[in-house]
Symmetry: C2
Subunit: 406 residues, 2 copies
């Protein structure tokens, strides 16, 4: 017997028929002899409606009251799913965050889970009862309802799996797993059987919006095995797990891309100590996150060109911050460019194998794609290129690293 946490998102519980369908999937898992706890989101559309109500009343709503309002979406789903499970002859009960409780910090609207007291739930599960827990919510130190921020139900599920020492946390969603790259762009994209936490983290933060980044961090920290699979088709998905569990390691596991970045070049910035701090300090103070940075070699020993990327949504704010300091920073001109894409090659294998970056540069060069900025980490190489080349680059790299479906 294994202990499994099953998590279903808003689309999977979008109406009463879909909730009944989820109940059948849970029943099938129970009939395989497994002990099951379920975590659910609000029915799709409900949270948006509730958020909209808060904004209608006041754009500057109190996040504690916002939490009281929006947390009701999940509370409805857990009650309905418990009823649906009972209708199938199973023993089940719903659990609100405050009923366990799921303790969080006090950051209402974007709280972090600190601990989960599973005493009551485990006692009920030991008697054969299926636990149905509301995702996205907990109890703050002020004894008021807190929510984890959008997409937080994944994190709730992983945290519950950790607290219950579950054998696996199955995240049911509207895709059937993690792919080597975006299958809407690369037809030969392949579903991965397994992927490491580290690779998944890079993929998640690079725009493959299947799992919330924080849930992957939590899974990695507590070594929770997470499976991503479809709630609509009945087949295995992708297991996110420890490196040790993956026997056949690929050099490169996937190619990610993000259109959410914009590039800024400061032409002829003074080349002297303290300039980088004078530029990036004010940006950070204004909540502009800077990702990739490249500084050209100075030609005249006095000035240089500095290029970096910021989130597309932050571009206007970044430009204003820099223009306000033009005299102080003494650059000649500022060149923004939002028609760019960041393409990343990700793989644990590149820690021990040289040549991964070289193959990327070469492949892009063969296709005539100019690289604007490069950044690397232990398990990934990212390049910034013109957005028009996104599809071409993805397909070429996917083939070059031998990822295409045979």
């Amino acid at each position: 017997m294994a202990r499994i946490v099953m998590k279903f998102g808003g689309t999977s519980v979008g109406d009463c028929d879909r909730i009944k369908n989820v109940a059948r999937r849970v029943k099938a898992e129970v009939e395989r002899g497994n002990e099951v706890a379920v975590v659910v989101s609000a029915m799709s559309g409900v949270t948006n409606q509730l958020v909209d109500y808060c904004k209608q009343i006041s754009p500057l709503y109190d996040p504690r009251e916002y939490d009281a309002v929006v947390s009701t979406g999940e509370q409805v789903t857990i009650g309905l799913l418990a009823i649906a499970l009972q209708e199938l002859g199973l023993d089940a009960r719903s659990w609100c965050g405050w009923q366990l409780p799921v303790r969080t910090d006090g950051a209402h609207g974007k709280a972090r889970i600190e601990s989960i007291d599973t005493t009551g739930m485990l006692a009920a599960m030991n008697k054969g009862q299926i636990a149905v827990m509301a995702g996205f919510q907990g109890l703050g130190p002020d004894s008021r309802i807190s929510t984890l921020g959008r997409g937080g139900s994944d994190t709730s599920a992983v945290a519950l799996a950790a607290a219950l020492h579950a054998d696996r946390c199955d995240i049911y969603t509207d895709v059937d797993g993690i792919y080597t790259t975006d299958p809407r762009i690369v037809a030969k994209a392949r579903k991965l059987d397994k992927i490491t936490y580290e690779e998944m983290l890079e993929l998640a933060s690079l725009g493959a919006k299947v799992l919330q980044t924080r849930s992957v961090e939590m899974a990695m920290k507590h070594r929770v095995r997470v499976q991503v699979l479809s709630s609509f088709v009945d087949m295995p998905g992708t297991l996110v797990c420890d490196e040790d569990e993956i026997v056949e390691k690929e050099l490169v596991s996937g190619i990610a891309y993000s259109r959410d970045e914009a590039k800024i070049t400061l032409v002829k910035v003074a080349d002297r100590p303290g300039v980088a701090a004078a530029i990036f300090g004010p940006l950070a103070d204004n909540n502009v996150n800077v990702d990739m940075i490249v500084q050209n070699v100075s030609e005249d020993g006095k000035s240089t060109d500095l290029t970096f990327t910021v989130g597309k949504a932050d571009l206007d704010r970044a430009i204003k911050v820099l223009e306000d300091r033009k005299t102080e920073l003494a650059y000649e001109r500022l060149v923004p460019d939002s028609d760019v894409v960041k393409v990343s090659v990700i793989g644990m294998g590149m820690r021990s194998h040289a040549g991964v970056a070289q193959k990327m540069f070469q492949t892009l060069a063969e296709k005539g794609i100019n690289i604007l900025v490069i950044s690397t980490s232990e398990i990934k190489v990212s390049v910034l290129i013109a957005e028009d080349y996104t599809e071409l680059a993805l397909r070429a790299l996917h083939s070059a690293y031998g990822l295409d479906v045979q």
Copy 2:
């Protein structure tokens, strides 16, 4: 400074604009120098939608899960109203039933309030914070959410007023007070300034559906002064209070009617001891409530006619129970009649004044209205008449007791 509990029903908080309107009414009360706690229902339509979801999943839903689902309606409203009050510059916070807690018995779906712990709420109110409490909900002995049954928010408000030792509980609704009779039928109906708990109880249970019966019982028990007034127009309503507070007592306060009754006559029932028990025992066992009962004088010393009323919804069940026992009860035939109405004259004054019943019988006789059944209590006289005469009877009685607007 007075301490006031204000209660707003579903229509009053039906959308975001109406919630803002409620916030303005609360602000006005605070600006009069009063300390305020607010109790609200779910936005109109929301509870029905949630109940419908439960029924869609399973007609035989678990009432504990039903409570988890339907209690979310009030939770949304308290959060939104707290935000609206803050938007007006007031300090306010929402309170779910479990947060005080409002302790109830374990009858999920129709729980009764047992006690309210106001420690936390009072501490916050003493600092000038407006408390916004969810009506209709509490915490059962199983530490799960309970609900009080439909219309329970009135009871929540009165119970909170009792627990807070409030000076008054104002129930805002879509009518502007309690009338001497139904103004849709009698154009000369008059709004009462004051009415006693006892009279209001008779009115409430006789079909004047302004206040939930249980809330009036609770108000009477704890001597909570309740005002019924409109949430849409700004004028005093009707105060439900102790008899001592009413200086000018009317002989008769109001005329109520109920179309929810049906009459059954058993012709030629054996006239011997134990027959009444043999008839009404099985009806009670089958959850049929019997209201008025009249037994004719026996003519032959052997048999008699027995007439009584039951709820219209219970009529078919009552007939089946009696027909199943026809041999045992030995009646000649059963005559049902659902085209009847119960008209009641209500007034504290009739305890000390004779002639109230006589005036009723005489007035109806003058209009040629036949009385089918009569029943009386200390403060009311009820008659059953043919339904067609409802309006005629109400207008005639309203004039006869001098209740008409001058």
